[in-house]
């Protein structure tokens, strides 16, 4: 039982990463420990039995070379894992770039069809064209998210810091999401301080973060009457933004992972199939890239509050 658990722990990761036995750091580490113990015992016996200084020096040298070569195999194993990770990030980045060209073609082609000449289309045709348009937009958003993730992972996320008025951006976001909230039977209550201080951040990214918070709150509040409280306030040397919903909340066991990429809480995945689990991961990188902090409080069945704070200029 125990040995099978150890076996699993050592080998499972390497098998999943497609690493051979002699490239697998977990195995090599155990092997090195074993060699260490054996060589100490061996050296002890040799010294005790023969007591020839030259033989002792020779034995110790052989053991050192052995340990050195196992050590170098371990380093190689790690190197290989790091390489695989880099290649994966590059692949995602290249594939996403390549996907963008045909996706723009699809978007613009449907734009043309749904543009001026709508009168020659039947309502069914319009309906399906709108479906194509919406799905194209979803795909573009997903590709953009994947590109962002690969940039974050390779430490190359573009953050274009500018003096930014968050209240203007928030008003635009609310205008854009108003009908979406209405469709979900959800009320948006907005409280914005007068004279919100300027902050240094990337206006495009911060807009996405605000959209993401509010969009999540609307989507996951559920079909019962939702109320979402959005607030933007000056607080000491910071500007504080928060979105509070009265939805189902996040289970305790999921709370630690909420900012991980591709993570979706079990109770929302049941309600909503749309969503990639990338939004909050990107949001965290964007806020931290603007020297701010991000977080949330949540209680199951009574709702969640997501917030960020950014230092004012």
């Amino acid at each position: 039982m125990i040995s099978s658990a150890i076996y699993k722990k050592i080998f499972k990761d390497c098998r999943e990463n497609n690493l051979g036995l002699w490239q697998c750091p977990g195995f090599l580490f155990v092997a090195m420990g074993f060699i260490n113990i054996c060589s100490m015992l061996g050296a002890y016996i040799i010294v005790k039995e023969y007591n020839i200084p030259e033989l002792v020096v020779f034995t110790v040298s052989v053991i050192s070379v052995l340990i050195f070569s196992v050590g170098s195999s371990i380093t190689n194993g790690f190197q290989q894992i790091a390489n695989i990770n880099r290649i994966k990030s590059e692949f995602v980045s290249i594939a996403s770039h390549q996907l963008k060209a045909p996706l723009s073609g699809m978007r613009w082609a449907t734009d043309v069809l749904l543009g001026e000449k709508q009168e020659c289309l039947s309502s069914k045709q319009i309906e399906y064209l709108k479906d194509i348009q919406e799905n194209t937009s979803r795909m573009i958003r997903l590709v953009n998210d994947l590109l962002d993730v690969s940039k974050i992972e390779s430490g190359k996320m573009d953050i274009n810091l500018q003096n930014t008025d968050l209240s203007d951006i928030l008003k635009t976001v609310i205008k854009e999401l108003d009908s979406f909230a209405l469709a979900h039977n959800t009320k948006l209550e907005v409280d914005i301080d007068q004279n919100i201080k300027l902050v240094k951040t990337d206006p495009i990214r911060i807009k996405m973060v605000m959209q993401n918070f509010i969009d999540n709150a609307i989507k996951y509040t559920g079909l019962e009457k939702g109320v979402i409280k959005i607030s933007l306030k000056n607080k000491d040397d910071e500007v504080f933004f928060s979105v509070k919903d009265n939805g189902s909340g996040i289970p305790k066991k999921d709370q630690k992972k909420i900012f991980d990429k591709f993570f979706r809480s079990g109770n929302i995945a049941k309600k909503q199939t749309i969503g990639t689990g990338l939004g909050l991961y990107i949001a965290k990188a964007a806020i931290e890239g603007s020297n701010g902090s991000i977080g949330f409080e949540s209680k199951e069945k009574s709702g969640s509050t997501f917030w960020f704070r950014l230092p004012r200029i």
Partner: protein
């Protein structure tokens, strides 16, 4: 209309070229098209359009080189960069080389592109 504004689209993706052409003609502009950098540059110099939409990744000569040549020749035609490179560095490079503004193709609907074109043309 004699004073029809002339717009040149330099873009190698046929679908995008076609879609842009269609809406721009509908809006009453005269539209010229080029599918690569060299013929695009020729058309700018010969036809002196009022506005150029320029892709970055192009066959024969890329958008950056087209911008460089235009700068050397002292051309002042306003240029909108059409790109799918959303890398800040690439966009900044194009703006430094004299492009007026840029838009990321996948992120824009055609009506947003039209809005930007109208805005620029009314300025000049």
């Amino acid at each position: 209309m004699d004073n029809k504004k002339k717009i040149l689209v330099i873009e190698d993706e046929a679908t995008l070229q076609k879609a842009l052409n269609e809406v721009l003609v509908q809006e009453g502009y005269e539209v010229l098209s080029a599918l690569d950098g060299i013929s695009g540059l020729d058309l700018i110099l010969k036809e002196s359009p009022d506005l150029v939409l320029l892709d970055i990744i192009l066959p024969k000569m890329d958008g950056f080189d087209v911008l460089k040549r235009l700068k050397e020749k002292g051309s002042e035609v306003p240029i909108i960069i059409l790109t799918n490179l959303s890398d800040i560095n690439d966009i900044q490079k194009a703006l430094d080389l004299g492009a007026t503004t840029y838009l990321v193709k996948a992120d824009f609907h055609l009506e947003d592109v039209l809005k930007k074109i109208k805005e620029l043309l009314s300025k000049n």
